[in-house]
Assembly symmetry: C2
């Protein structure tokens, strides 16, 4: 864990962003990234150090509930921190939904005990008009029942090498998938994925593989076989970034919760 | 009803569009409108006459299920009509979801027996990032319970003069409101409004009035009193266009329904 810069207060930020047009969360030189926009806003308030996010979302991936730690000098009220950051991030499609003082030793990434992602597929002939850049557009109808059945074969603790990006930096390919539910709502398929943590591209690689089953190109049983093969070449392609959204990050104690159960017993989102 | 142009086939189109940046449905000289984009695409296929929509949505208002009648020469398959119109409407955020041959005498506006609208309010301090241009942003939390209670006083057959735009061209201000439900989902308030037809700005004026109740500026009973006054000055302001979406238009027989219950017994959205 990085040390807390001296004379600063650590703030937990709850972030929402539209990932369209950004090269992902992480700072990458001069490319537009979520981190670079947030840190530029933080710099206006004297932020001396890089921010840490719970999950480093890829280019084009969205967040409704990313969690970030930012250090700021002085003793600003939480509401002022939120409003000032939002002011300085205009007109970018990034906002701080809530802010709360971070407890000592808390780290958004290593303290997290769960990540919830949502993946949206629009499976119809006409391209999306209202949900452009929010859904993966698949031109033909997919069989949601078959996708849901196949998804269940990925639940539990496994070596997910078959669904791991080549550049993934995690030490171990073993993860425990707690939930992978595939449901339909009209012309849209919604996939909810929950785990303590995911490998790089794991959700998108699982979705791309399930889409093969939904299209009738793969039998349901092939998904479990791809998992067992522990070989990236045995699973399906990576689903498009724009369908993915980091919905929430789970902690033992929700830093943003209202009331005495909160780490601060303080609600800042009035 | 306009006559059917000779040697043409009438097509019922199910349209989805993002109303952002458009001056509404209706053709208005050189302004960008949904109708002008659709008719320009239709002209490529030989469309000889104006299209008719079930509801003339205002500037910035969206549709997930607008219904339009377009006449085209020849006997194209429905799927070709849909794909050709979508091709010619690129890159505008307007798509034809489905196409079906219109029965003789069918008119999308006068044959309709119901309109379903959804209105979305984001009531939190931080501006919308993911739903920019899709929700009305209200900076303070609204009381949904009070809004729902007040909404029920508008149900039924009434003179809705208090909620009618000055320029409304309807002959009578009397409408029958079948449903007005206000519910919360996280930081969002969703209002579902259903009636055979609505006056101009009626949904947005009802929402703007309910928001006064939600903000605690008006007591619940004031909404029924505003209705009874039959005076536009007695009701609240017009809610923002971007929160409104025409979800669906109801007909005795759904022209887009699959199977033998359809007006054609034919499903075109493969």
């Amino acid at each position: 864990l990085p040390d807390k810069p001296p004379d600063t207060q650590g703030w937990a930020l709850l972030l929402e962003y539209d990932g369209t047009g950004f090269a992902g969360w992480q700072r990458q030189g001069q490319l537009p990234t979520i981190q670079s926009v947030l840190e530029a806003a933080g710099a206006k308030l004297g932020c001396p150090a890089p921010c840490i996010a719970a999950g480093r979302t890829d280019a084009g991936v969205h967040a409704a509930g990313q969690v970030v730690l930012m250090h700021l000098p002085g003793r600003l009220p939480a509401i002022r921190v939120r409003d000032a950051l939002n002011y300085h991030m205009k007109p970018h499609s990034i906002v701080v939904r809530e802010v709360t003082a971070a407890p000592a030793g808390w780290n958004p990434r290593f303290s997290a005990i769960g990540r919830h992602y949502r993946y949206r597929i629009l499976d119809r002939r006409a391209r999306p008009a209202l949900d452009r850049n929010r859904v993966w557009h698949v031109h033909h109808r997919l069989d949601v029942g078959a996708m849901q059945e196949a998804a269940q074969s990925l639940l539990g603790r496994h070596d997910f090498t078959s669904f791991r990006a080549a550049g993934c930096q995690a030490k171990s390919p073993v993860r425990t998938l707690d939930r992978l539910d595939v449901t339909r709502s009209g012309d849209e398929i919604i996939i909810i994925a929950e785990a303590r943590s995911f490998l790089h591209h794991q959700v998108r690689n699982m979705v791309g593989t399930l889409a093969l089953v939904g299209a009738g190109k793969w039998p349901v049983a092939a998904v479990g076989e791809a998992l067992a093969a522990q070989d990236r070449r045995r699973a399906g392609p990576t689903a498009a970034a724009e369908g993915l959204c980091l919905m929430s990050v789970v902690y033992d104690v929700d830093p943003f919760a209202k009331g005495p159960g909160s780490c601060l017993g303080q609600r800042v989102n009035v």
